[in-house]
Subunit: 220 residues, 2 copies
DNA sequence: GTCTATACCCCGATAGAC
DNA sequence: GTCTATCGGGGTATAGAC
């Protein structure tokens, strides 16, 4: 209880510093100085630098996944076990986008930490992401129930593209702002969510893509 | 001439080792051992570990961008300065996907290096990517000419989503394979290209997204 | 169980001789 | 251009104090 003051102080200091300066530029010595604890305490409580990062990541990650499933479950219950595809996609990408985007000046250090994590992807984070497959399978199942005529392959590609748009937009938000000279407003989170959901829905509902066509288009 | 044998040997060894084991797990000492050169030679020729990685990345990156522009130019000339949107998108994502995907067993170490680079994104690589904005602007221009009725904002979002799908599919190809239990065939590159182009085209040509709608859907 | 002091080893970088 | 030697600093491991 009072005893994990050290542990908590390390987590708080680490999250703040990582959010501000990234993983590579923050040393454990920086963190322990900020938290006013001893260097060895990090290894005692977390085992290694990577596992400290992992701990921060999972905490936030679990919260997002819980919110995703909450929205998904609510939607399927309301629809009698079969939700509209837009609503499923909304549950999939909404929590993630809402957790990382939004007005810059009010972005929590937790949010900025998650953006860094999206970009850098150190080993422990990839490990955790790979364990997320079971979580994604639940969405694949809901999508299959929503679109029973669609092939599994199309479902998976739709899921992949939805996540692609959400994560890439977070990862490269700075570049998109620069490229569009500010015309793309990344602070309007609900607009971004709507755009991603809209495109992903089209991908999943449009007449079969004639994917196998050679399409030698523009091949010199 | 004979003098840059050292330089070349370092580049070759570095690319191979980074492709196999990633940036974090390969030390300069590993590289110089593989290349049979002296440790200090790396800093003499490249300045730092990061700049060595950057050199490898730009070489490959420039080749891809050249191919992209070649396809774009050919398409616009053929269409009298105005190419179909599918063809523009094909020129945008085709070279990148072709350079990183394909049958696993025939993937060059250059290709595997670029996949690592897509995932890890060390500082020098992000620096280079930010310089790519001018390159992307050329595609935005072509897209605007192709779809003159579309707003700039929609053009930029379409461009963003096209790149998102391409890069995310490369980054997370392993996860998609696992998730779909092999049903999504990432070795069939032209199929992947066709899928990305198809979805991005829909995103850009479908009736205006009613993006600003609050869309309180599923909000508990 | 917690926390501290300290030492270890390896990494990237550099200086200076050749 | 190339090499040897070395430096500062990073993460990690351990021994022991509370």
């Amino acid at each position: 209880m009072a005893s994990d003051h050290t542990r908590t102080a390390i987590l708080a200091a680490a999250e703040r510093l990582y959010a501000d300066r990234g993983f590579g530029d923050v040393t454990l010595r920086d963190i322990v100085a900020e938290a006013n604890v001893n260097l060895a305490a990090v290894n005692y409580h977390f085992g290694s630098k990577d596992e400290l990062i992992a701990e921060l990541f999972v905490t936030r990650s679990i919260a997002t996944n819980r919110e995703r499933l909450r929205e998904l479950k609510a939607a399927e219950e309301q629809g009698g076990g079969r939700a509209p595809i837009e609503v499923i996609l909304h549950a999939l990408v909404g929590p993630t986008l809402r957790g990382c985007l939004g007005p810059e000046n009010q972005r929590s250090s937790a949010a900025r930490f998650m953006i860094r994590a999206s970009i850098k992807s150190v080993p422990p984070i990839r490990r955790i992401k790979n364990r997320e497959i079971d979580h994604l399978r639940k969405f694949a199942g809901a999508m299959r129930r929503s679109l029973p005529d669609r092939s599994d392959v199309d479902i998976y590609w739709g899921l992949n593209f939805a996540l692609a748009m959400a994560h890439h937009t977070i990862r490269e938000s700075e570049r998109l702002t620069k490229l569009s000279e500010g015309k793309c407003d990344l602070d309007d989170v609900e607009d971004v969510v709507a755009r991603v959901v809209s495109v992903a829905t089209m991908a999943l509902t449009a007449g079969r893509t004639e994917a196998k066509a050679p399409s030698k288009v523009a091949a010199r």
